[in-house]
């Protein structure tokens, strides 16, 4: 049911902690990366990358601690130390800074040299007649398999070293006194809190808040317009304000009414003036 730390190889021990720790941290980092993208920051370029790396530190400490405690309780039957997450994190970070850099360099060198060797092999007179599609696949298989083997060996080396770090912590830990079922319950409660409705409410509320943040940051129109697409340059119609429009219409009508009345009065007056000379004219005899 449980294995002694010495029974598990360092590679297996390292894998048992590092693999689930990686996946435990990934969802949170993806969400952080997405928010950066929505804000127009690339998580792989300077300000965004620094922000993401900084925020990843507490996430990684928590993830390594959680998975480390799980392995200690479930697989090794050991009572984990309270500072297990922090210790494994800083030791793992130091390992990544040294061995990781070396492995990256070796990996790149291997890929470059195996690609060069594969290309040389394919340039041999004997293989010149090989058609393009076959040539691509053979060349890829040649350098891909060499690179994959070297990368796998480098990864196993990394897991071995990380497993040694975990083993050191396991050697210093005391055996767990609780029976297996109780230990399973203990590590289970570390993952899922006892108050389920509260957990689901918090999870849902966080999700809703993040989605709202996403929509708030997101650009409304495409950040990559098509080069031949002509954007419609329509002038926005002024917003209609019903009360103002009615008042304006009323004012216009009142003015119009006043103008009509003034015109009517003027017309009456001029009619009156015009009628008087007519009478005089009627009284006077017309000249032949």
């Amino acid at each position: 049911m449980t294995a002694q730390p010495s029974q598990l190889s360092p590679v297996k021990l390292g894998f048992a902690v590092a693999w689930p720790a990686f996946w435990t941290g990934v969802p949170i980092k993806i969400v952080l990366g997405l928010l950066l993208l929505a804000m127009g920051q690339h998580p792989w370029e300077f300000p965004g990358l620094a922000f993401l790396l900084l925020l990843s530190i507490p996430v990684d400490i928590w993830a390594v601690g959680l998975t480390g405690r799980t392995v200690f309780l479930e697989r090794l039957g050991l009572q984990p130390q309270a500072s297990l997450g922090l210790t494994l994190w800083w030791q793992g970070a130091a390992l990544y800074a040294t061995y990781g850099s070396l492995a990256c360099f070796l990996g790149r060198q291997t890929i470059a040299s195996s690609q060069a060797v594969a290309a040389k092999i394919m340039d041999m007179e004997l293989l010149k007649a090989v058609p393009v599609a076959e040539r691509i696949s053979i060349e890829l298989t040649l350098w891909g398999s060499v690179s994959a083997v070297v990368l796998l060996a480098l990864m196993l080396g990394g897991l071995f070293l990380f497993g040694k770090l975990v083993q050191r912590q396991a050697d210093a830990a005391s055996p767990a006194s609780a029976p297996y079922e109780a230990r399973v319950h203990q590590w289970d409660l570390m993952r899922v809190p006892a108050d389920q409705p509260l957990m689901l409410t918090v999870f849902t509320a966080t999700g809703v808040a993040l989605v709202l943040l996403l929509w708030a940051f997101m650009p409304v129109t495409t950040p990559h317009p098509h080069e031949s697409y002509k954007q419609d340059e329509k002038k926005a119609a002024p917003a209609l304000k019903p009360t103002e429009a009615l008042q304006k219409a009323e004012r216009v009508l009142t003015q119009a009414e006043a103008s009509v009345q003034a015109l009517e009065a003027k017309a009456k007056k001029s009619k009156g003036k015009a009628a008087a000379p007519d009478k005089k004219a009627a009284a006077k005899p017309k000249k032949a």
Partner: protein, 364 residues
């Protein structure tokens, strides 16, 4: 003294009395998971989530999309450039389809490696294979709808491959194209299949898949003593629900990120002249496309062999798998043929997909 039920409790009691809400809830959430919850079991739930999101984004797109050869391209450009957040909804829908294919592969691989297709779960496996076909058909039919050069030529290549199938190939190709070259009839037929026939088929089969899964029960892990499995056996709620929710959140965030990093940008409007464009299908069919470029698969018979016979035989083999592999052993490390076979298939798909990408340089 018992407290009076509040309004919400009264409403729940009213509905429960009529539809058996509590029984349904108990059936849905209190399913025992042998060996406890696991991250390896999240793929099926994630697939369902992605499908629901595809339906939601698809409906939103249909408010603006016009399925006619004259307006499909313009309406898609309008969605991208004029509709508020249209570019994001379209890009989410585009990447969602790829995510569905990836998730189907992950789910099928998990079932295969865990030996969960073995008796008494043969029917679940067979319905799952049909669902796999539907997901691929979704990708194929949806690809044409933007009506740009990429869409037009990917469909032309796909239909030509389909034409090589014996007996039904010619009929299917003629039916889908609806004319000598892809045109209005092709677009109409692909649209109807994409938004009417395939969703209905997927919903029906997914329901059957879930029913069969609940009937047979989860297979559980392939390792562990009965004592260990018993100690860890748990109900579906809350631990598996929690894991499913986290995985769905991660999938949603990944698809959104892809929509931001690589949003949909259309090529030129579809024409029967490819011009400088080199036709190729969607990335998940690239391995098959590259396979057909090999000399061994040239000529009429070679194309039939690579495009139809080998993929067809592989699908038949997958369907027959639970009836061929009758050993009760589920531990993948004690099934070397299955493990080596899976690694070979996955490596071949990877090599041919990457080869197809490298091959682009030689075409220009």
């Amino acid at each position: 003294m018992s407290a009076q039920p509040n309004l919400l409790e009264k409403v729940i009691a009213f509905v429960d009395e009529r539809v058996g809400l509590k029984t349904l809830q108990a059936k849905m959430l209190h399913e025992p998971v042998p060996g406890g919850s696991r991250w390896a079991y999240v793929f099926g739930s994630c697939l369902l989530f992605i499908f629901i999101m595809q339906v939601v984004t698809g409906i939103l797109l249909m408010f603006y999309y016009v399925p006619s050869a004259d307006h499909a391209y313009a309406s898609t450009q309008y969605i991208i450039h004029e509709v508020d957040y249209g570019w994001f909804i379209l890009s989410y829908h585009f990447w969602g389809s790829s995510a569905m294919v990836v998730m189907v592969f992950a789910h099928m691989s998990q079932v295969f490696l865990w030996g969960a297709y073995k008796s008494p779960r043969e029917m679940i496996w067979l319905v799952g294979l049909a669902l796999f076909g539907i997901v691929m058909a979704f990708g194929f039919t949806g690809y044409l709808l933007p009506w740009d050069q990429r869409a037009y030529w990917a469909t032309t290549v796909g239909v030509e491959i389909m034409d090589k199938a014996p007996i039904v190939g010619d009929f299917l190709a003629r039916f889908l194209k609806g004319g000598p070259t892809p045109g209005q009839m092709t677009l109409s037929r692909f649209f109807v299949i994409h938004v009417m026939i395939l969703p209905a088929a997927l919903m029906g089969l997914a329901g059957l898949h879930l029913f069969l899964f609940r009937k047979a029960g989860p297979a559980g892990p392939f390792r562990g003593t009965p004592d260990e499995l018993k100690a860890k056996t748990d109900y579906f709620f809350p631990r598996q629900v929690w894991k499913d929710m986290v995985a769905m959140g991660a999938v949603f965030a990944t698809i959104c990120s892809l929509a931001f990093i690589e949003p949909v940008v259309l090529l030129e409007e579809a024409t029967p002249d490819p011009g400088e464009y080199h036709p190729e299908p969607e990335w998940y069919f690239l391995f098959l496309f590259q396979l057909l470029r090999l000399k061994i698969f040239s000529g009429e018979f070679g194309q039939f062999l690579g495009g139809v016979a080998i993929p067809g035989a592989f699908m038949v083999l997958l369907a027959a798998l639970p009836f061929i592999d009758r050993s009760p052993e589920r531990n993948i490390f004690k099934r070397p043929v299955a493990l080596v076979g899976w690694i070979l298939i996955m490596t071949s798909i990877l090599i041919f997909t990457v080869s197809a990408i490298i091959n682009r340089e030689f075409l220009d």
